[in-house]
């Protein structure tokens, strides 16, 4: 099983993004996904700048580089951005909306289907494979059993990627919840989400960590953590374990997963949830050993 680093979900400055990838190329991840996937207003890097950065990394760092498209497309400008990424000429694209699949399949290009593409069964998977699907990033709520059942009927299987560590992208809305928290309108947001490079914690009135507000996206309050499940991921046919970038800890997580996959360490990562993978509510905590 290989390690991939998903797209950055938060709004980081141009400088922070460049510094982050400069660090990440030194880590043992095999694949880097690049691009803005949450909000069309987050233009610290334009689609063209993302493509340039991706090309530069692809030619220099020896890792697989994939461009990720936006998830919720609301305006003509959003759609143009998606088309621009799909027209990049050379780099594989992770489609996070059917719009991207439309552009890529028209050009007969292979693509990665991102986690927000609703594929829940072999029949949908097979149809999209006929359109060019090469790798399937499994919807966050599919557990081991359901993934196995979706793959069983297939003679030829695509590459399978599962989010193994990081906050789960749970929902997308027109509304910016970070702006709402600050009492400003989305149109006048002044990019308040940049003040929260790790998102904004939402807790129940009993202080239970539920969600992380991240602009128009709602992420899980705690990271998913499938480190202890790496054997069952491999057994199920997962080819890529995805780590989702977080403001802190990303290198430690990569290192720990890398060592665990090589069998050279039994170090653990504290905390997190693994409910979805076990067929339980996603919020269910990893059982204490």
């Amino acid at each position: 099983m290989k390690l991939s680093l998903g797209p950055i979900q938060y709004f980081w400055s141009h400088k922070d993004v460049l510094e982050f990838y400069a660090r990440m190329i030194e880590t043992p991840v095999n694949t880097l996904y690049l691009g803005e996937v949450v909000c069309g207003k987050r233009r610290e890097l334009s689609p063209i700048q993302w493509i340039d950065l991706a090309r530069q990394l692809a030619s220099s760092c020896g890792k697989e580089i994939i461009l990720s498209t936006m998830t919720l497309i609301e305006s003509g400008a959003d759609l143009k951005g998606v088309k621009r990424l799909c027209d990049n000429e050379g780099l594989l694209v992770e489609a996070n909306d059917i719009a991207a699949i439309h552009y890529l399949s028209e050009k007969k290009l292979p693509f990665v289907a991102g986690p927000a593409i609703n594929i829940y069964n072999a029949q949908s998977l097979q149809f999209l494979m006929s359109q060019g699907l090469k790798r399937w990033v499994v919807p966050v709520e599919l557990g081991q059993q359901q993934l196995r059942a979706a793959l069983t009927p297939l003679k030829v299987k695509p590459e399978i990627e599962v989010l193994a560590w990081g906050r789960l992208p749970l929902a997308y809305s027109a509304r910016c919840f970070t702006a709402r928290h600050h009492g400003v309108k989305k149109d006048d947001c002044a990019f308040v989400c940049q003040q929260y490079p790790a998102g904004l914690q939402l807790k129940s009135q009993e202080s239970q960590s539920l969600f992380t507000l991240n602009g128009i996206a709602t992420l899980s309050g705690m990271p998913v953590n499938l480190l202890n499940h790496h054997a069952s991921l491999t057994d199920t046919g997962v080819s890529h374990a995805r780590i989702s970038p977080e403001w802190e800890q990303t290198e430690i997580v990569i290192e720990t997963f890398y060592n665990a996959l090589r069998g050279s360490s039994t170090a653990s990562l504290a905390g997190g949830t693994d409910g979805y993978w076990r067929g339980q509510p996603g919020i269910d905590l990893i059982a204490r050993e």
Binding site: Q123, L170, A174, K185, D187, S204, Q208
Partner: protein, 331 residues
């Protein structure tokens, strides 16, 4: 504009027809539809009665098979498609590409609509579904502003249906896993959001705590009426501030947008509420019939009668309504 009305039972369907529905949408009594609630929806036998009633009234019947087929159980969704086709329904409302592919190959003459659960918000996505599955209509998620709806209508290869009234989904439908994350029951797979089986009402002193799968969603004092614990409408703490961080309990009401929607070429307006009883259906459908008739009679003189809003307000969640994402400041 066609008025598309919900029915979760035969009595509700009768009332929808009597109150002026142009089309009624129903679902089978299992997890193939996105309103899978105990005691609701239609067995194949009842669906056959529904079809004959609707067609005798000269109206249309749509069947929603709009969850995503669970792996290893695809036959259940196939059977639902076959049953609906046998009934001679006027359209199937589908979300899953595998199910659409099956419907298109097995029943090539069947009319297909893309469900709101399909999350298509742009012309490229609509074109994809149109080209591959021949969909003739798509229901838009409740996330676009009026201007965006107008622009999309000008480019769309298929007719568009928008939500007019009912419970407000503030997340893009088909892309929300909040309820699934807490309860393990998923809108996409099981057809339920904040399922009743996970709800707990806990009286506390003079007030009430509402929970979902043990998670505290809201806490009401004696002066407040406790609302249903839908995750996106609870009161939570963010940086020490306690508020409806996502949305207040409220319903969508777009009566005031009807002239603009009609001018944009929107083909149909949908009312939400298959889980609601005949009294709701009768009054709400009646208001919308009056509004659409008034618009038809005199497009420039159309205005929202206060009694229409009063009536819809009574049936709204939290007794309040909003234009939701259609209205830019809401976003």
């Amino acid at each position: 504009m066609e008025l598309v009305c919900p029915a979760g039972s035969l009595p509700a369907l009768d009332v929808a027809l009597a109150s002026g529905a142009d089309a009624v949408y129903i679902g089978f009594a299992d997890d193939t539809n996105a309103r899978h609630f105990q005691g609701l929806n239609f067995t194949p036998q009842k669906a056959a009665i529904a079809a004959s009633k609707v067609h005798a009234a000269g109206k249309k019947l749509f069947v929603a098979i709009n969850t995503y087929a669970q792996a290893g159980a695809f036959q259940r969704w196939q059977r639902a498609v076959d049953q609906a086709a046998d009934l001679g329904v006027d359209a199937l409302i589908l979300a899953d590409m595998g199910v659409m592919h099956y419907a298109r190959s097995r029943h090539p003459d069947l009319n297909l609509h893309l469900s709101v659960q399909g999350s298509a918000t742009n012309a490229a996505a609509l074109t994809f579904y149109h080209q591959h599955f021949g969909i003739t209509r798509a229901v838009l998620p409740r996330v676009l502003s009026l201007k965006q709806v107008q622009q999309l209508a000008a480019q769309s290869p298929v007719a568009l249906e928008v939500f007019g009234f009912g419970s407000l989904c503030i997340m893009a439908e088909g892309r929300c896993h909040l309820s699934s994350y807490i309860t393990g029951q998923s809108p996409n797979m099981n057809g339920v959001c904040s399922p009743a089986s996970a709800v707990q009402w806990q009286p506390k002193g003079e007030g009430m705590d509402t929970r979902l799968q043990g998670v505290l969603i809201d806490r009401f004092d004696a002066t407040e009426r406790a609302g249903y614990p839908t995750l996106c409408k609870g009161r939570f703490d963010v940086e020490g501030k306690r508020a409806h961080a996502l949305e207040e309990p409220t319903s969508l009401n777009t009566l005031s947008l009807l002239p603009a929607l009609q001018a944009a070429g929107i083909g149909a307006v949908k009312l939400e509420g298959r889980q609601r009883g005949p009294a709701y259906i009768g009054q709400v459908v009646n208001v919308w019939r009056q509004a659409l008739d008034a618009l038809q009679r005199d497009p420039t003189g159309y205005h929202v009668a206060p009694e229409w809003n009063q009536c819809l307000g009574k049936h709204a969640e939290g007794v309040q309504t909003t234009l939701g994402a259609y209205d830019r400041p809401w976003q």
